[in-house]
Symmetry: C2
Subunit: 241 residues, 2 copies
Amino acid sequence: MRLLGQALAQQIDVELMGPAVGFSIDQLMELAGLSVAQAVAREYTPATHRSILVCAGPGNNGGDALVAARHLRLFGFAPTVHFPKRPSKDLFVNLVKQCTAYGIPFVDEIETPLKSSQLVLDGIFGFSFSGDIRAPFDSIIRTLKASPVPIVSIDIPSGWNVEHGNVGGIGLEPEMLVSLTSPKMGVRGYRFKHHYLGGRFVPPALAEKFSLNLPAFPGTDGIVRLDDVVEGEGPAESAKI
Amino acid sequence: MRLLGQALAQQIDVELMGPAVGFSIDQLMELAGLSVAQAVAREYTPATHRSILVCAGPGNNGGDALVAARHLRLFGFAPTVHFPKRPSKDLFVNLVKQCTAYGIPFVDEIETPLKSSQLVLDGIFGFSFSGDIRAPFDSIIRTLKASPVPIVSIDIPSGWNVEHGNVGGIGLEPEMLVSLTSPKMGVRGYRFKHHYLGGRFVPPALAEKFSLNLPAFPGTDGIVRLDDVVEGEGPAESAKI
């Protein structure tokens, strides 16, 4: 597999939604979030991990988390969402409405709900993240790190440098990661208890163009389990566009 | 299950995309089309039914078919699309772009491609259809009816009256039906070789409000196999809104 740096991940997103391929963000986010929910349901059951605290950030990673919350609800889990910084875009306003219509509660803080959660879904930051972790996400990440509740991260564990990994150890340490499109450089060599690839929507020709060497998804599954340690090309030369 | 008449199916759609639930057509169509593709792949394999002629009409049923074509391509099938009446809306323009980016060919007539197809996916008319079958769909339906290639219909076999079934025998006679949201009144008592319910996106509260009595979808599946003959409430009194 080709591990993606920030610029290449961004470029693939732009191509997927550009004039040649023509996907809408609604379509891609729906498939991404659905695959995240499917991966969670593959490793955890409502019998043991019914209460899931979903932490959504202000970008598309947060949107993926909101979609995943909705599907998890249909799969028999009981998600609760913390979404402290909400974009004014219709897309996000509507994702919140959908969750509410599904009976999913939203909470203003995570300390209390975390105590009664069996799992955390981390959709705080995605592949666009860089720089410092600003409030309120600094304290959210600290709280999650101090908790024994296992974490599932979407695409990249929040707080990690997308290309260089958990620099300074300030990021989350999830027991499961669901990479989208293709794993990011930052997770190279890192061992997760469970690692899945989701986001089965890359046109074969685009995968070829970028030499992604994606693994085969079995049957009609939207997810494929990856080896515990991701190897592959990258980071420096090979991932240049 | 509660069988849906035209007005109720329309009302549920309006509610799903209304201010309370907030779904976009892109989201619903993606999930619907994905479920259709999953159902097809459950009953047919690329080894025996690789070439699929996808007949798309000018409405949302056609859009579902275009989405299904894309997913079928990823599942290893080789769909070819006939889409003679194309709406100018961005949604449909982009669905065509997506199929093209996936390497799916579009054809201007069906006589020749039908000869080399092992399966037909019928997305010509959906639950909004009423009145006469106009050109070019009258001749398309006649051609499909005269062919031995098995047909999978989306939501309602094209040419059927949504509430009264295959009136006058002018409609398609599919060996498989993928109902969306809930089966339509017109299929009551009709035996399909395979019948699935797809479109797993109805909020539990909305299903309750309309007394849909939907069957349980297994695990994370987007589809559930129904009994060969659909019974249930309807048509006349019980399906009044």
